[in-house]
């Protein structure tokens, strides 16, 4: 059937000046979607299963007889529900996602395809090791790539995310000190650090002390030297740091730390800037986690899963967690229980870590190779510096000189405009971009941290810069309403976070439905 165009207008009429609000809450392709609890049926299911005797007889008192309260959807209803929800999300596949320190790069689909090979996805962590030689070989190869790229002699693969990797590194450091009977009390962390650094150090039982920052956005060596002492267990330094700068004095930082008998934990969240060009081992690092979901492009999935393998120096390697892969007589083997006399600090989770992420990360590494990974770092740094150069006329950068993979701006350029960093970020949403990381790092007022990554084409970066320059001009021209009310064109307007925290409503409850039914 073709669309008949006889007898109807084929050009739009003159448009009305104001937009009427819709009657249903839907807006074109954006549907106002209810919760599954308001959509589903209590007896409905979208999965056909054989009949089963529910087996209440042999379970007695343990049989769950009370209603659980779970709605069901048929498959078409489920597809619509989740596709409608998906359309309310920004995504890297849609446009630039410049969250600083998050490294939102393209996620190659080959990685997804490989992770779904039954030989990887349908194997059990505890089936005989003779039946999973390929999986153990893959872990061994991943370890080889990570060790070679960092120049470090050992790696613990099992940590499940960056923060879990930090925990692994600090646990190894604590075990190393304990093994010498040297109980230390403090961990030094720069003020610009990610919140996970102090949280991890405290979790491992250390008092956290902050290291001051210099006027050029780097660790204050004098302050570090003054605070180092015989009770300092470790320093945790992000490099490149969260201001997007390489720590120029990193080798000296490591030297001072080691001279005090402490270990150097490096937060590797920003490894993307230097991968293939700089090896952390050459900087004096003792432990560093690598976010496979950042540098090696395993998808962030709306908040995970991640993976945070930790490379370790010779000094810390003996304390690595179980399990680990070894080359045995009959191929690869898995050491799941630390042998007697081992210094291993123990186990971090039930199984061997994030295998699904290992497959994706190794696929990514093999696709890029040594030359491609070096190019990754260079293009990421080039893109960030290009953004810094293009925006610096209109926005203010707190630190001079080249940046690494992310460009940092403060809010001094917004002074007197009545537009805040938050307002500016929300107006970016209306222009079709995800805002940058805002108000972090804490050391820069009204911080805006922009990380484009290497997978953005120049045209998209120019589009982004043009949009920000236009917004900056609007802010300076006093067009405040555009910012204060933003976003206007997102699925929702600004949300009331205070209400959410003051009267927490953390789950759907059936009361509302009962009321409607009773009317």
């Amino acid at each position: 059937m073709t669309m008949l165009n006889v007898g109807r207008p084929t050009r739009p009429e003159a448009t009305q000046a104001t937009q009427p609000t819709t009657l249903t809450g839907g807006r074109g392709l954006l549907q106002d979607e209810a919760l599954i609890f308001e959509l589903g049926g209590w007896d409905k299911t979208g999965v056909d299963l054989p009949d089963a005797d529910l087996g209440s007889d042999d379970l007695g008192e343990l049989f769950r007889s009370a209603p659980i309260g779970l709605p069901g959807l048929s498959e078409p209803e489920a597809l619509r529900h989740y596709v409608r929800l998906s359309q309310k999300n920004h995504a890297i596949d849609l446009a630039l996602y410049p969250l600083g320190s998050c490294t939102m790069k393209h996620n190659p689909r080959l990685n997804e395809k490989m992770a779904r090979l039954p030989g990887f996805s349908d194997i059990h962590p505890l089936q005989p090791t003779s039946t999973v030689q390929g999986a153990l070989a893959l872990m061994d190869q991943l370890a080889h790539w990570l060790k070679t790229l960092t120049g470090m002699p050992a790696v613990a693969l099992s940590p499940k995310a960056g923060a879990h990797g930090e925990l692994c590194g600090l646990l190894a450091i604590r075990a190393a000190h304990e093994a010498r009977g040297d109980a230390r009390k403090r961990v030094l962390v720069p003020t610009s650090a990610h919140g996970t650094n102090p949280a991890t150090a405290a979790f491992v039982g250390y008092a956290v002390e902050e290291i001051a920052q210099t006027a050029d956005g780097r660790v204050d060596l004098a302050d570090l030297a003054a605070k180092l002492g015989p009770d300092v267990a470790a320093i945790m330094v992000t490099n490149p740091n969260t201001c997007g700068l390489f720590e120029r004095d990193i080798v000296e930082i490591a030297r001072l730390t080691h001279a005090a008998g402490a270990y150097f934990y490096c937060d590797g969240a920003n490894f993307n800037a230097i991968v293939g060009r700089v090896r952390p081992a050459d900087l004096g690092v003792d432990a560093m986690h690598i976010n496979l979901h950042k540098t090696f492009s395993t998808p962030h999935g709306g908040g995970g899963p991640g993976a945070g393998p930790v490379v370790l120096s010779d000094a810390l390697a003996p304390y690595a967690p179980t399990p680990w892969v070894v080359h045995g007589d009959a191929g690869f083997d898995l050491v799941e229980h630390a042998p007697d006399g081992s210094g291993s600090f123990g186990r971090m989770s039930a199984f061997h870590g994030q295998m699904g992420m290992y497959v994706r990360a190794l696929t990514y590494m093999m696709s890029h190779g040594a030359d491609g990974l070096r190019q990754v770092a260079e293009d990421a740094v080039l893109n960030a510096n290009y953004i810094k150069a293009r925006l610096s006329g209109a926005m203010t950068a707190p630190f001079d000189g080249p940046c690494m993979h992310e460009a940092l701006f403060d809010d001094s350029w917004l002074e007197g405009t009545d537009v805040s960093t938050l307002d500016f970020a929300k107006a970016m949403i209306d222009e079709g971009f995800h805002p940058m990381t805002m108000y972090f790092p804490l050391v820069v007022h009204g911080a805006m941290l922009i990380e484009p990554t290497e997978t953005e084409p120049k045209a998209e970066i120019d589009r982004f810069c043009d949009a920000l320059l236009a917004l900056a001009a609007a802010a300076k021209a006093g067009d405040v309403d555009r910012f204060k009310g933003a976003p206007f064109h997102a699925p929702l307007r600004r949300l009331d976070e205070t209400l959410a925290a003051r009267k927490p409503k953390l789950r759907w409850k059936p009361e509302a439905v009962t009321l409607v039914a009773a009317e």
Binding site: G55, N107, G162, V359, P457, P491
Partner: protein, 447 residues
């Protein structure tokens, strides 16, 4: 390089705008001793064809669970995941989005997290649930830390039915937090011993049901004993499908319910990524670890969702945070919530019933074999059996014969003195023919 859009011309133009003579100039802050002129000693880039070939070769050296009769459980279970689940989680808007820090353009993620939390609260019979942790074992360790904060006591009693790897994970964190861990000896049914161990210094009791030996346990009396002593009860579940058949932790008096959610929506994946379920009572929510999604309204009073109560979290509280967790298991939680929405209550109960029925068939078939003793008194979908030979050797032999018979308990706890114990799980994917093959093979090797 197919993933890098910049051309040589782009790079030259951009360097011009930056006014940098070369890319090396941008790395001027790197100490000279650490600058590398060439590439590291690894292969160079490869096309999809070459990479796919190499990865397929590695995958080919593993035996997938679907290729043979398969009975491994012990904390990871092979279930059927509807095709639509994997399709939906691969939508760009879910797969390639970040943690929902800008709620106006992340309502898709936030709404499914709210639905996920609501489903987990219902399944566990608890008042509130968080937006996921890494997995069940790290969730159990977080729960012990939370009980330590709430009670200000420093002793955790672990039941003898707790998965040994969960116990080890708890011990790793407890050691640095100064919490004493009192592990009961391995026990098929150790309820009385746990109650015995509770005293006025106990922060929490950790009990697993169904436990690592498959035993479904009524923890009501343990809850009463714990509460009488001012301690909290943490109930761990490693097989989430069991919620469809067994009384929930909440109904039995749990203060914190922790589970491995892998069974719903997520494949085996050789141990990860999985999804940790974490639920508790409303009054404890401000001590809970991890992200929480809450309902609110936007500027036009429309319903919406945001991450909330974040003053507990590391990015706000830093060294005073309840946990250091940041990235969690978002996409695995999405797979969980889609599968759960498809099942609904009716589907979940039926699925649980099929699992239980298949496990009963396994128990019946094996109890007839000389040299096999069924140890688990009441089970859901997994049973522990005592063999007349060491279980690890039996499993190796049967693997060569094409049957993956289960998990030897000695693999989880080599020094427990239970070398003859084998853990055998059945699910809706276990066929009657699989069970017959297991029985035949086992009879052969034990004869």
């Amino acid at each position: 390089m197919r993933y890098l859009p910049l051309t040589a011309e782009d790079r030259a133009t951009m360097l011009g705008v930056i006014a940098a003579p070369s890319i090396d100039a941008l790395y001027a802050d790197v100490p000279a001793s650490a600058r590398r002129s060439g590439t590291v000693d690894l292969p160079n880039f490869q096309g999809e064809i070459e990479v796919e070939r190499a990865m397929a070769a590695l995958a080919g050296r593993n035996r997938p669970a679907g290729a043979a009769p398969f009975f491994c459980g012990a904390g990871a279970y092979r279930h059927h995941v509807p095709a639509s689940v994997d399709h939906i989680i691969q939508r760009s808007e879910f797969l390639t989005s970040y943690t929902p820090y800008q709620p106006e353009i992340a309502q898709g993620t936030l709404q499914y997290l709210f639905e996920f939390q609501s489903q987990v609260a219902a399944l566990t019979g608890m008042e509130v649930a968080n937006a996921s942790l890494y997995d069940g074992s790290t969730g159990a360790a977080e729960a012990v830390m939370m009980a330590h904060r709430i009670t200000r006591r420093a002793k955790a009693v672990l039941s003898g039915g707790l998965h040994p790897h969960y116990a080890e994970t708890i011990r790793t964190l407890a050691h640095v937090a100064g919490v004493d861990v009192l592990s009961q000896p391995a026990a098929i049914d150790g309820e009385a011993a746990v109650i015995e161990a509770i005293d006025a210094a106990t922060a929490c009791v950790v009990v697993q049901t169904p436990n690592v030996f498959g035993t479904a346990t009524d923890v009501t009396r343990i809850a009463e004993a714990a509460h009488a002593a001012g301690a909290l009860l943490i109930v761990v579940t490693a097989e989430a499908i069991s919620y469809g058949l067994l009384k929930s932790p909440g109904e039995m008096g749990a203060d914190i319910a922790v589970a491995e959610g892998q069974s719903i929506g997520n494949g085996l994946n050789f141990g990860g990524p999985y999804v940790g379920l974490f639920a508790t009572r409303e009054k404890f929510v401000r001590q809970a670890p991890g992200r929480l999604c809450g309902e609110t309204v936007d500027a036009e009073r429309r319903r919406g969702f945001v991450l909330t109560l974040s003053t507990r979290e590391q990015h706000i509280r830093r060294d005073k945070a309840t946990s250091n967790i940041c990235t969690n298991s978002g996409l695995c939680a999405l797979a969980f919530t889609i599968h759960m929405s498809l099942l609904g209550e009716a589907g979940l109960r039926r699925l649980a019933g099929v699992n239980h029925a298949q496990a009963r068939k396994v128990a019946a078939a094996l109890s007839a074999i000389p040299g096999v003793e069924i140890l688990t008194p009441r089970f859901f979908n997994e049973v522990a059996v005592r063999l007349s030979k060491p279980a690890a050797g039996v499993v190796e032999t049967l693997a060569e014969e094409g049957v993956i018979a289960g998990v030897p308990y000695s693999r989880l706890a080599p020094s427990a003195g239970l070398d003859d114990v084998l853990l055998i799980a059945a699910t809706e994917l276990t066929t009657d023919a699989d069970i017959a093959a297991l029985a035949t093979a086992l009879s052969g090797v034990l004869a």
